[in-house]
Symmetry: C2
Subunit: 409 residues, 2 copies
């Protein structure tokens, strides 16, 4: 089950950036499960990683190698991603395996091991089948391709229990030059049934200074991947990487920066929303917009309290405009000196709550009409400030429980 | 579905404290839905109420009246509780109705309206059917009874969608006198399908100064009702009241205070656990003990992060010893400078995690054996301090979603 139509765009090439895949048999024979991304020399690479204290071995090694590259004033040359096994909760063995993967690929490609960043997603707590993984690397290198076929294969090769690949592409005009941004993502719960979750790889041909790239990535992650939730669980392996090859237009003045920033955020929001639409058991795509907060953090706190409420999520699954549950969730959000009389809650174009209770004129028929849709916008105005935030989530269905309780059977 | 055997004790009388009920037809004809508790003169009464900013009208009025009594150096004389309607999200009408209920009962009983505290539980957002509610008060007063029958009827009369009444009674010796504590509670989610949740009424014949009673209640609530969670949702109507009639032994020295405190905490933990055992769709009763924390708050933060994880809860429903999910939940708890290498996780007598990954010697067979039980103890040692906390929760089953998504159909 997923919300909305599936579509994976034909990505234009980003010159010099090539993607290769292999069927290494890491967990399942015959499926694409190993991806290599080749980054051209002279690029800049920024990364954003999980904050889970139990981060997986590849996250530790990717962070280390990225820092080493930065110290040398260079960028990583290869990203290697395996699915089927998260290499998480694997202790020293896991770190050794992640480093060995980088060393093997570095040897085959003729670069330093620290120029390779490893990523894993899949089952937690099992060691990587290193023979099969390393054995797949030559095939992945042989198939490196900078065209649409490379992106499509890579989009498939990073999936775990996703029901469909997730890709997005935009182009923007900077002066008389065209800049391309391509991205792929995977994930369908904040953490999967024993699977490690969300990965995203975004590349552009724009030329951007490394420090600026880092700042742009951080801001875009905060507005996209950090604003989605399926079940509130943060994975051990989450990572989002942004590669700028530098062969295209330079993003070097305020106007160009603004245009590029908007395009990047739009692309990453599309990739993030694709994860929610493919959320485990999801039958609804819900936008939760909170306005009138004192700070953006306050708006986010309220939005996530509502988005994580099992009672709100089950009401959404039932297409029931149960405003009492939304109101109760807003009321328990961590907001100081909250005047509930000023809160207004709208479901699409229908006013649900004002003045501390059900809005006058509200009818269950009107609420049910909006709730029956696949895409449901909820807007909560706290009436106490100017800050806003939007988060995207799904409903909580029997299928979610079935997927997460029965996945071994 | 509920976990463990149902049992409601034969409560001994607490002299002067009487309980009466009526079938007022508030929501469903023929069911006991109105309860009056008569408090003898000279008693002390303490209350603990929901922190939800959208608190219900009866909570506002009960707080006001309790404060008025305290100002006058007296205690409330009557508690009136209706089920079937929470009188929450009802604005000014709701406040007027709660006050009118107090005034009517006060008139019938010959006391001041501020000597009456109102409590409601049931559907949110509908106004009380005042004719039927007020019409039931004479019957409730006529049936006032200080014996076991009064307690049993009251235990039934406060239920909403609970599958069984919840009561507990203990006696302790203070010197050569016996002190009795009786209590009843209701609730089966932290908030029900459109229902407002948790109520508890505890009475004792001990003689305790009001300030001390307040402190004892606050501490006991923190160790009992504030340590349970079914779905993380806090209701608009939660309340816990503690009545000390003062006709029995005096709790007036350190030894007596310690004995009474232990008895009160044990009683309230039993009443709180009864709510978890009757949790919506629950098939497991889970004790989550966190040790080795720097502070109790830190221990609670970790325990609740695990207890609220949908992935942990669905694994529990599946009797799957999925230690990766527990580890990932511990890792995302809000704890600063967390050294995951020091974390130890035990499932009953089986060690699941140590040294940042699966414990050596752990087998899935051993884990599954513990997970198959109805009562599951999980112990997490953070290895960084001396503080501990225990919370109690349930699994997340298909029945939970069915109850909460389909309750209108």
């Amino acid at each position: 089950m997923a919300v909305g139509p599936a579509s994976f765009p034909d990505m234009p090439a980003i010159e010099g950036l090539r993607l290769g895949t292999a069927r290494a048999g890491i967990k399942t024979a015959g499926r694409r499960d190993l991806v290599v991304i080749e980054v051209p020399q002279g690029a800049a690479v920024a990364g954003s990683f999980t904050r889970n204290a139990f981060c997986a071995a590849p996250v530790t090694v990717a962070r280390e190698h990225l820092a080493e590259c930065t110290l040398k004033g260079a960028a990583p040359r290869y990203l290697v991603i395996n699915t089927g096994n998260a290499n998480a909760g694997t202790g020293e063995t896991g770190l050794r395996d992640a480093r060995a993967t980088c060393a093997e690929l570095a040897g085959l490609a003729g670069v330093e091991p620290s120029s390779v960043l490893p990523f894993s997603t899949g089952v937690i707590g099992e060691t990587l089948p290193m023979d099969r993984l390393l054995g797949g690397l030559p095939e992945a290198l042989r198939s490196l391709d900078q065209g649409a076929a490379g992106w499509t294969a890579a989009g498939e090769g990073i999936l775990t229990t996703d029901t469909r690949p997730k890709g997005a592409s935009v182009t923007v005009e900077l002066g008389d030059e065209t800049v391309t941004l391509n991205g792929i993502s995977k994930g369908s719960g904040m953490i999967k049934p024993n699977m490690a979750t969300m990965l995203a790889f975004v590349a552009t041909d724009a030329a951007i200074a490394p420090g600026q790239l880092e700042a742009l990535l951080r801001e875009a992650v905060d507005r996209s991947f950090n604003c989605i939730t399926v079940d509130g669980d943060t994975s051990t392996n989450d990572a989002c990487m942004l590669i700028a090859t530098g062969r295209g237009a330079r993003v070097d003045d305020e106007h160009r920066l603004a245009v590029f920033r908007d395009a990047l955020q739009a692309l990453m929001i599309e990739l993030a929303q694709a994860i929610v639409r493919d959320g485990e058991g999801a039958s609804k795509f819900v936008s939760l917009q909170v306005d009138g907060a004192m700070t953006r953090q306050e708006a986010l706190d309220v939005a996530f309290t509502v988005a994580h409420s099992p009672l709100v999520k089950t009401a959404l699954a039932a297409s029931d405009a149960n405003w009492g549950r939304i109101l109760a969730a807003v009321g328990r959000a961590p907001v100081a000196d909250f005047d509930v009389e000023r809160v207004v809650i709208d479901l699409g174009e229908v006013r649900l709550v004002e003045g501390g209770g059900r809005a006058p004129g509200y009818t269950e028929a009107a609420g049910s009409e909006v709730m029956a849709r696949e895409e449901i916008p909820i807007r909560i105005d706290l009436g106490r400030g100017e800050a806003s935030a939007t988060v995207w989530t799904t409903d909580l269905t029997r299928d979610y429980v079935a997927i997460n309780a029965d996945y071994r059977s």
